[in-house]
């Protein structure tokens, strides 16, 4: 045991001298400082509709045609300014002069089908915003139309067609919630374990390639002690980083329950990955190949755990964080 601690102490000393750990923390901090951006950014990629909740920027929509109720629904929210235009040509002119961000043309009639043509700027974030803002009002209008046209339908069908539990007002979209707890927290909490698995490979292959392992083994320290000492260092830095991540997430207003359980779970995963790293470092010829194999195995494990969620650490973390 004393030998293991001696090796661990030596590793900590070199890490402190090279200030590498400082760099690791710095990298994580850089990512963390963008985490607000990351959450919204990554999330809006998975679910662009979420823009509806996050964005407060206004858009100007040029309208061709008239429908009082529809326009009322659209403008109610306050983020879409409605600008009535005389005809399609004028609207297009205004669109290209950037006086409006999009065009909505209303055609058709109440008895049959009402058709809306929406013109949006290609590749522009405003296009995403307009559709995100329009979706709810249009659904409301659709529901209104269904209600006034429900005559002649069979009762059980009519009941379902006009069934409406839309709840007005802003709310946390469920997908945001599911993204943060289902993907973001598990990934962030596991990343220190991933890093440690990679670090042990560096620590062992370094001794191997510098040929210092032989010298170390001539001392009273055994190979087992050397490896365990190194593994210990990699292992103890995991809870520190996980705690930091949890702290940053809480600062961003995300409640996390069962923190101790999450930390111990990440340490368990870390222990498994460190073990994997040790095996790869010993049996593979060079550091590069070990790292490549390690990352590939990691990716495979990640996808497998995604597939079989009932056994997955990710699901356990999600459930623990939710309380």
């Amino acid at each position: 045991m004393r030998n293991i601690l001696a090796v661990a102490k030596k590793e900590i000393k070199t890490i402190a001298r090279e200030k590498t750990f400082l760099l690791v923390l710095l990298v994580q901090l850089v990512i963390a400082s963008f985490s607000a951006f990351l959450i919204v950014g990554m999330f809006s990629y998975i679910n662009p509709e979420a823009m509806q909740t996050y964005s407060n920027s206004h858009v100007k929509l040029g309208i061709v045609g008239d429908d009082q109720r529809l326009l009322h629904y659209i403008s109610e929210d306050g983020r879409i300014y409605i600008i009535k235009t005389k005809n399609f040509k004028e609207a297009v002119d205004m669109f290209y002069r950037e006086e409006i961000d999009g065009i909505l043309v209303i055609s058709g009639n109440m008895d049959k089908i009402i058709k809306l043509d929406i013109y949006l700027p290609k590749g522009d974030i405003k296009a995403t915003l307009i559709i995100a803002y329009l979706k709810k009002p249009l659904e409301r209008y659709e529901q209104y139309l269904r209600k006034i046209k429900d005559y002649g339908l069979r009762e059980e069908i009519r009941k379902i067609v006009t069934y409406d539990i839309s709840i007005p007002g802003k709310k946390t979209p469920s997908s945001y919630f599911e993204f943060v707890y289902g993907i973001l927290i598990p990934l962030l909490v596991m990343s220190p374990a991933f890093i440690s698995g990679g670090m042990i490979i560096d620590l062992i292959t370094e001794e191997k390639e510098k040929k210092t392992l032989d010298i170390l083994l001539t001392s009273p320290i055994s190979l087992k002690d050397v490896i365990l000492g190194k593994a210990l260092v990699c292992w103890v830095i995991i809870p520190l980083q996980v705690a930091a991540w949890l702290f940053i997430l809480e600062m961003n207003g995300i409640t996390i329950n069962n923190k101790l359980f999450i930390i111990s779970l990440s340490m368990l995963v870390g222990a498994i990955l460190i073990f994997l790293g040790i095996i790869l470092a010993i049996y593979q010829k060079t550091r590069g190949v070990s790292h490549l194999t390690y990352s590939l195995i990691l990716l495979n494990l990640f996808l497998i755990s995604y597939k079989f969620q009932s056994f997955s650490f990710f699901t356990s973390i999600m459930r623990a964080a939710l309380g």
Binding site: P48, K210, R287
Partner: protein
């Protein structure tokens, strides 16, 4: 040239040796299973969050059916609502249905709020299923409203979103140039058309037949429920795939340099007729070529075409990654240190390339990144030569400088000593300076650090522009002043033992001239935005005087041979510099 080729051949052969047969089979199997897993797993699959919400549904058959179909809910049975569970947070919603009335109880938690949204989605999805079924006979009742989206390319004009767009002069010019193009454009726009029942039925049949039920195609006629906004940053995210080989091969490259270093092969090679330059270039050539080949393959696989301009936009990025990997492996003391330096710079560089590219078409800041050029090519735009130069020149220059620096350092005394990074850098710089004609060399160092300062400032610009307005300007002013002062001081510090009064002035002069040259080359791209103003001030002589004065101030501790006060003098000089720039901007 021939020798470079020989080294390249060796490198290829030795990198092959690292992979024995067993390894290759194992790696191949891993890749295969990865591909298989990626194919079978739907990353947008909602079953990740299976049973995430706990809900109690009483006398609500429609809702219960919808919830079972959805899968995200854990349904609790029971005749009476259990409110204590709701308060404890063990239950997120209670739904009680009574005749036509549905009462929903929720708690104050965010999760309950999310559950509410999920409930609405579940019911809507269920409803849609029923509506599909009756749509054949009752299309106007089931789907009374249809939406068709058209995407039009607008003439880009960054001035509009630019900070400087507030000035009226600009806007007038812009309007004039635009109104001419409008009349031509209107004929090519698809006209709004009414929709009849038959067409609507056809669309629904199309949806029912395929797997597309849940995926709304763009530019399509849809009922509002199926409408989904276009994915923002879509093309920028596609370009992420190009970053993978970049990172991987630069890792391999630095690994190879580290190997030679650790196994003391470098000593033998340097003793041979091959010189350091040939050794470095030969190695670099192999990995550069491999990266390019992989990028071409990716381009063919994903974009289905080979656009040379996309590859051309990637070249400076590959070079800067390789340059940093090379220098890092030369000056770092261990594999650990090397890994972390590379990871750190990779994160910083990727942020610099990708954050601005996210704002392609929205903000002028996107112009600083070569990834924006690649994105613009992918969506089919043309790129002007000055735009290419603007986005890539700083990277080319910096890569060249960093490589050159690495070559000077590629000697036994630097490769194997255990000094800290800053000290090592100063030593290597000192060696370059002491080769003769110190004054001229110092001037050149001052000139040479300009692209690095420029690149760093662009990096700050990329990272800071999201912070609200006055603060990002302050942060930018302080950071760029600190960067410029530190870089100007580098050469002076390297010669600290034989310092002369004229040295700080020479370094400052070099920097000043470099800055002017940079300005001429890249003018008119971002110089008319507020950020641009911070980077390039208009006054000639006062600016020169300021540069010299600040460097002198910062070097005072070196001149008086007492380095303890160096941080203080550096901060003072930066503050002076920042204040001057602030006065100019305001």
């Amino acid at each position: 040239m021939e020798k470079i080729f020989i080294i390249a051949k060796w490198e290829l052969r030795s990198s092959k040796l690292k992979f024995d047969k067993k390894n290759v089979i194992f790696l191949f199997l891993l890749c295969l299973s990865l591909c298989f897993a990626l194919k079978t797993i739907n990353l947008k699959d909602e079953s990740v969050v299976k049973g995430i919400y706990d809900i109690q549904a009483i006398d609500a058959p429609i809702i219960k059916e919808a919830l079972i179909l959805d899968g995200r809910f854990n349904i609790l049975e029971g005749k009476e609502p259990i409110f204590p569970l709701l308060q404890e947070g063990k239950l997120d919603l209670i739904v009680v249905s009574h005749k036509d009335l549905v009462v929903i109880y929720r708690s104050k938690s965010k999760k309950s709020e999310g559950a509410l949204d999920a409930l609405e989605q579940a019911v809507n999805r269920y409803k849609l299923g029923i509506l599909w079924k009756i749509s054949d006979n009752e299309i106007t009742k089931a789907f009374p409203l249809w939406v068709e989206t058209h995407y039009l390319r607008r003439v880009e004009n960054f001035q509009y979103y630019n900070l400087n767009s507030l000035s009226k002069k600009h806007e007038k010019n812009v309007e004039k140039s635009k109104s001419t193009s409008t009349s031509e454009a209107i004929d090519s726009i698809p006209k709004p058309m009414p929709l009849d029942e038959g067409e609507a039925r056809q669309v629904i049949r199309h949806f029912e037949s395929g797997e597309e039920k849940n995926i709304a195609p763009k530019d399509y006629i849809l009922p509002p429920t199926l409408l989904s906004p276009p994915i923002p940053f879509y093309f920028t995210i596609i370009t992420f795939i190009f970053a993978l080989p970049l990172y991987l091969f630069s890792q391999f490259y630095s690994q190879s340099v580290m190997d030679d270093k650790v196994n003391k092969k470098v000593e033998l090679l340097l003793a041979s007729p091959i010189n350091a330059k040939e050794l470095v270039l030969g190695k670099a050539a192999v990995y550069f070529t491999l990266t390019i080949i992989t990028e071409v393959i990716i381009s063919l696989a994903i974009l289905k075409t080979l656009d040379l301009l996309v590859i051309a936009a990637l070249i400076p990025i590959i070079l800067i990654f390789m340059a940093i990997s090379f220098v890092s492996s030369v000056i770092s003391r261990s594999f650990k240190e090397n890994s972390f330096i590379i990871v750190f710079f990779s994160v910083a560089l990727l942020a610099y390339f990708y954050f601005p590219a996210m704002f392609y078409n929205i903000h002028a800041v996107s112009k600083i990144s070569p990834i924006t050029l690649a994105v613009r090519r992918i969506v089919g735009e043309s790129i002007k030569i000055n735009e290419y130069v603007f986005a890539t020149l700083p990277l080319y220059l910096c890569s060249a400088l960093i490589f050159y620096f690495g070559m000077i350092a590629f000697k036994e005394e630097h490769l194997f000593n255990q000094r800290g990074l800053v000290e090592k850098t100063l030593n290597i710089l000192g060696e370059f300076l002491k080769k003769g004609r110190e004054e001229l060399r110092l001037f050149l160092v001052g000139l040479g650090v300009v692209p690095i300062a420029y690149l760093l400032e662009l990096m700050y610009l990329a990272l800071l522009f999201q912070i609200p307005l006055p603060y990002n300007i302050y942060a930018m002013l302080l950071l760029s002043a600190l960067t410029e002062e530190s870089l100007k001081l580098l050469g002076v510090m390297a010669l600290s033992k034989r310092i002369k009064l004229v040295y700080p002035a020479l370094s400052a002069l070099g920097f000043f001239i470099g800055e002017r040259v940079m300005k001429v080359i890249t003018l008119a791209q971002i110089t008319n935005s507020l950020f641009g103003l911070v980077m390039f001030k208009e006054y000639f002589l006062p600016s020169l005087a300021l540069h010299v004065l600040c460097t002198l101030l910062a070097s005072l501790p070196i001149l008086f041979k007492d380095k303890r006060f160096l941080p203080l003098s550096l901060i003072l000089a930066s503050a002076l510099h920042a204040t001057y720039n602030y006065a100019l901007v305001s």
